[in-house]
């Protein structure tokens, strides 16, 4: 039986295209990516769960990208994805325009790629040297946009429970929290970008936030985000990003506006990123500080915006035409709040600090067929499971 499945998989790979499909005189191009990731079930620690409640280390994912470019200055783009063959999600769907032919200035409108940071714009299998995602872009904190804690103790009791958090205000149904920056959904809005040889700048106005990108708007707020990248020499990129947008669901804001007065409940974030490559090396890193302003409903109050600090450094080295090795060191920590009932009334991080190291390697079986295997260890200062090691393997194919 296994032999037959293997044979079927081999035959399937043989009939898949080797490169992008072109039609309509080359104005329409279609490409795709299939990744199959095998790993252990994790129904107690949830270190790698995404905001769609899938496990990044145990996932089957199919994505298809399409572009119609009828002229050099105009294009429609889309990318649809399905995770674990459940639902099909339009990850990207937008129009791209270059108003002036001679100027490297572009405008994109629709469901667009995020301008903040770098990781969320990388393609999943081909550009990720490992299998897991950085904590900043995947790990679920206990915050939610549609449900908020009434006081500091409500938030502290959810430490390390971002996979399914619940609060007394707003939506009463337990649901996954949000990552610092979501790499699994893109936001909807307009983006403008100027890209010269050494300097690149992009700004966007979108309906969601970094943590909670949206198609429909849930709070009549807009997020303004931007990034500047500098390429001082070939191979080196240094970037800085910022974003600010309304985070909390309108229903909660309206319910407490009379009591608390008009307030902005925003997510604000700043980040820096860098990449250097040379020869067979590539090294990347990002650091992000984000904070969310929550309603001060009851005592003990959450006096200040709650913050998260996160960063990672990853490197990949090619040992030869086919073999490569990679490692990522990652951390996520949180600002402190003070409750009454919990932690003896001492200032405590509002969510549990997480650290992660992931190392592995891969082999390019073909140019567009890569096998990877990684070992990932996680430590967490809270929650039901404090630490856990995972082993995962992935086969990814693109055309």
């Amino acid at each position: 039986m296994l032999h037959a499945q293997w044979l079927a998989a081999c035959l399937f790979l043989q009939v898949l295209p080797a490169g992008p499909i072109e039609t309509a005189r080359g104005t329409v191009t279609i490409s795709g990516e299939i990744t199959a990731t095998a790993g252990p079930k994790d129904e107690t620690a949830f270190f790698n769960y995404t905001d769609y409640e899938h496990n990044a280390l145990r996932m089957f994912r199919v994505s298809v990208s399409g572009m119609w470019r009828p002229s050099p200055r105009f294009a429609f783009l889309t990318e649809i994805r399905s995770e674990d063959l459940q639902s099909v999600i339009p990850y990207a769907l937008y129009v791209r325009v270059r108003p002036w032919a001679e100027r490297p200035f572009d405008v994109q409108a629709g469901r667009i790629p995020p301008v903040f940071g770098t990781f969320a714009r990388r393609s999943y299998g081909a550009d990720n040297p490992l299998i897991g995602f950085p904590l900043a872009y995947q790990y679920l904190t206990s915050l939610r946009p549609d449900a908020v804690p009434a006081n500091a103790d409500d938030l502290l009791i959810m430490r390390g429970r971002g996979w399914r958090s619940s609060y007394p205000v707003g939506n009463p149904i337990p649901a996954p929290g949000i990552p610092v920056v979501s790499a699994y959904r893109w936001d909807t809005g307009v983006e403008a970008r100027y890209g010269a040889e050494r300097l690149e700048a992009a700004v966007s106005v979108t309906s969601g936030t970094l943590s909670n990108p949206r198609v429909d708007d849930d709070n009549d707020g807009r997020q303004l985000a931007g990034r500047v990248a500098w390429h001082p020499v070939i191979g080196l990129t240094l970037g800085a990003s910022g974003a600010r947008g309304a985070f909390v669901d309108r229903a909660i804001v309206d319910a407490y506006e009379e009591k608390l007065g008009p307030q902005d409940y925003d997510q604000e974030a700043v980040g820096i990123d860098g990449e250097y490559s040379r020869g067979y090396w590539i090294v990347r890193g990002e650091a992000i500080f984000s904070r969310w302003t929550l309603p001060k409903i009851n005592a003990p109050f959450i006096d200040h915006p709650v913050g998260a600090r996160t960063g990672y450094v990853e490197g990949r080295y090619r040992f030869g035409p086919r073999l490569f090795g990679a490692v990522r060191v990652d951390g996520l920590s949180f600002t402190k709040i003070t409750g009454q009932r919990l932690f003896g009334g001492r200032p405590t991080e509002w969510d549990a600090t997480v650290s992660r190291i992931e190392a592995g390697g891969g082999v390019n079986i073909q140019r567009n067929l890569t096998a990877r295997a990684v070992v990932q260890h996680n430590w967490r200062d809270g929650g039901r499971v404090k630490q856990r090691t995972y082993v995962s393997a992935q086969l990814s194919y693109w055309f």
């Binding site: 992008p20 990318e79 070939i234």
Partner: protein
């Protein structure tokens, strides 16, 4: 299959390496490739702006070669060099035909990194990332077809055809080719083009005597 044919050519000529070449004729003709160009550019929905609209890759260049080399075709390998540029995120030329033992230089003429590599059986290599003005070289010793790519730019690709003999020719802009110095005899003429799927078109051709010029045309759809 085509790589095997190239290998067979080398095997044949190695057996008869010591014999001198007799007076020679030529084979000429035209390969009419009726295949549209291809840009090979993948959609880039993750990009924040418009990429450069790449010229479609001209796929009309073909290589015509003798499947088995004439007896006495041996030439001691010299320190031959060829060049494949990286310019405007293209390999230039897109198709290169060389004899085994040739060194190929890969200069980077762009203001961005490139990372030339191949996973082909005839030659696996990875030159790493290097910047504009720098060049790396590789010697191709084994006959076969080497597909060349850039690890950073997925639309960059090229072909290097490595032969064990010198009886091959790359077609020009009009599809014309000419193989000179072919000794009298009967040969199988084969045409290679990247658009060919399945068996390569072949033609049996005879050079009756020295100075004879035979013609063979091909059409590829």
């Amino acid at each position: 299959m085509r790589a095997l044919a190239l290998s067979a050519a080398v095997a044949c000529f190695a057996v008869s390496a010591a014999e001198p070449l007799p007076a020679a004729g030529a084979i000429r003709g035209r390969v009419d490739v009726r295949v549209g160009p291809s840009a090979d550019v993948r959609p880039d929905p993750a990009s924040l702006g418009m990429g450069v609209m790449r010229d479609a890759q001209d796929r009309r260049r073909s290589v015509v070669y003798l499947e088995t080399a004439p007896r006495g075709a041996f030439e001691p390998p010299a320190n031959r060099r060829a060049r494949m540029d990286q310019r405007n995120e293209r390999f230039i030329p897109h198709v290169l035909a060389i004899t085994a033992g040739t060194w190929v230089d890969f200069p980077n003429g762009d203001r961005t990194y490139h990372n030339v590599f191949s996973l082909s059986k005839a030659k696996e290599f990875n030159l790493g990332r290097y910047a504009a003005g720098h060049s790396e070289s590789i010697q191709f010793n084994q006959p076969g077809i080497v597909r060349v790519f850039c690890e950073i730019h997925s639309h960059m690709n090229a072909f290097i055809l490595v032969f064990g003999h010198r009886f091959f020719a790359l077609t020009d802009d009009e599809g014309r080719y000419r193989i000179d110095g072919v000794p009298p005899g009967t040969y199988t003429l084969v045409v290679w083009n990247e658009a060919i799927r399945g068996d390569a078109p072949k033609r049996t051709i005879t050079i009756a005597e020295a100075g004879d010029v035979d013609a063979a045309d091909f059409t590829i759809r």
